[in-house]
């Protein structure tokens, strides 16, 4: 009987683990698809050969412009170049009426966090891939997962949920920032990264 009671107790634990590790993330995060698909690989690869900073501009004031505006797209796609369905949507629904595309941003930080791309890229000599991985050569955009409570992207917490990866800089929370800064021997005050 003792054995059986352990099984029941253990299955309770297993039940929670399944709920917590499998179903909880499904409930906590809402999956949303991007308004249209975008193929980074075509743009950055040999076909077009654009670099990251051509579209994701850092201007002379050191401001990172993030996702380019539709005007940037229109520089090439003022009319349809190819035959893809997504390009047709881009031209017809956004470029011609001059509407901004409501992209969901994977790495959008809360308003009180300050992150300077230019400092990390120009002074810290970090490559885009070190933080953003293979996003620049991806063929399509991942499903965007938004936290139902905090309203932020899953990428901020950590895409893999356990936060136990070997890969560094997987998440983009304060602890991740501090960890990386400490590895590089930097000690910063609070206001260095808070606004």
């Amino acid at each position: 009987m003792k054995y059986q009671s352990r099984v029941i107790f253990g299955s309770g634990i297993i039940f929670s683990l399944i709920i917590g590790w499998f179903f909880f993330p499904m409930v906590l995060f809402k999956s949303e698809s991007q308004p249209l698909q975008y193929n980074h690989k075509i743009h950055t690869g040999e076909q077009a050969g654009i670099s990251c900073e051509d579209c994701h501009v850092i201007d002379t004031d050191g401001r990172f412009h993030g996702i380019p505006t539709v005007a940037k797209c229109a520089e090439c796609h003022s009319s349809q170049l190819g035959t893809s369905e997504n390009e047709k949507i881009l031209v017809e629904q956004y470029v011609l009426p001059n509407l901004e595309i409501p992209w969901r941003i994977y790495s959008l930080q809360p308003d009180n966090a300050y992150f300077s791309h230019v400092t990390h890229v120009r002074l810290g000599q970090l490559k885009c891939e070190e933080c953003h991985g293979t996003h620049g050569s991806s063929e399509q955009l991942r499903i965007f997962q938004v936290n139902r409570i905090s309203g932020y992207s899953r990428d901020i917490w950590n895409a893999s949920f356990s936060g136990m990866q070997n890969k560094s800089r997987e998440g983009m929370k304060m602890d991740d920032c501090i960890q990386c800064h400490e590895q590089r021997g930097r000690k910063d005050g609070c206001i260095a990264c808070h606004k």
């Binding site: 401001r63 809360p110 230019v118 400092t119 002074l123 930097r186 206001i191």
Partner: protein
């Protein structure tokens, strides 16, 4: 940022009280720059938020010998034994090692208001309500400064949003040091009489460290030994004498918290 290869700054100000004519431009520019919400109907002088508050101080002589000086009062950025840092149970305040700015992280604040009681200058303000702007004004908020929520304390931080912007601009040119002209707080920029000088006190050659040595330059309540980094200047001796007086509250409403 104080890794050994970087310069340590100590930002400070000199305010020429003889020039200040109490127009209020600094107060307004400060509130706009730092996304401080406008008053609500119920807000009064005790519950309002004015990071930069300009006080009238009278020489207490009778008309027509009366004289009034306008004293802009805001966080004096105490360097030593900083009272608010000492008392904060949340570590929500610290003296930034790289700049000397007393930084407040509102998200960390639990709203006990101990710091407000500790501040000798009454320079800290509490958010009694959720901030409110009209619909269109919400789109006119400064993108470099996060608005604060109800129940936290806030105060002047020498426009750290502008410091971030200046650092980013320097970084864009591959420089670690900012160009001093790029980092000017909103009150300094807006003062029509140019009564406020801002700069690095750690830099011996800067205008502020030169003027800080002037015999007519003083600091409020310097006897407390908190080494504030905001200096004042006046050629009127009654104004300078006021600096060490404990404020007698003839105006009974000016008591915060």
């Amino acid at each position: 940022m104080n890794s050994s290869n970087e310069k340590k700054s100590r930002y400070g100000m000199i305010i020429d009280l003889d020039r200040c004519n109490g127009c209020g431009a600094c107060t307004v520019a400060c509130a706009i720059e730092n996304n401080v919400p406008p008053a609500q109907n119920k807000t009064n002088i005790k519950t309002g938020i004015t990071w930069m508050q300009v006080y009238h101080v009278s020489n207490n002589e009778s008309f027509p010998k009366s004289d009034t000086v306008f004293v802009p009062m805001f966080c004096q950025q105490c360097e030593e034994e900083t009272p608010c840092v000492t008392v904060c149970p949340q570590n929500a305040v610290e003296v930034d090692p790289a700049t000397g700015i007393v930084g407040q992280i509102p998200q960390r604040c639990l709203g006990c208001r101990y710091c407000m009681a500790a501040c000798p200058y009454h320079a800290r303000y509490f958010n009694w309500w959720d901030p409110q702007w009209s619909e269109g004004m919400k789109k006119q908020l400064n993108p470099d400064v996060a608005p604060r929520m109800r129940g936290v304390v806030e105060k002047c931080n020498f426009c750290q949003g502008r410091l971030h912007a200046a650092k980013a601009k320097a970084a864009a040119q591959g420089k670690k040091e900012i160009d001093p002209v790029e980092y000017i707080p909103a009150c300094v920029e807006s003062c029509p009489m140019q009564a406020i000088t801002f700069g690095d006190l750690a830099d011996e050659t800067s205008t502020v460290s030169q003027s800080a040595k002037n015999k007519d330059t003083f600091r409020f309540l310097s006897r407390l030994g908190t080494e504030p980094k905001v200096h004042f200047h006046s050629e009127k001796s009654w104004v300078r004498d006021m600096a060490e007086k404990t404020l007698t509250r003839s105006k009974k409403e000016i008591v915060h918290g």
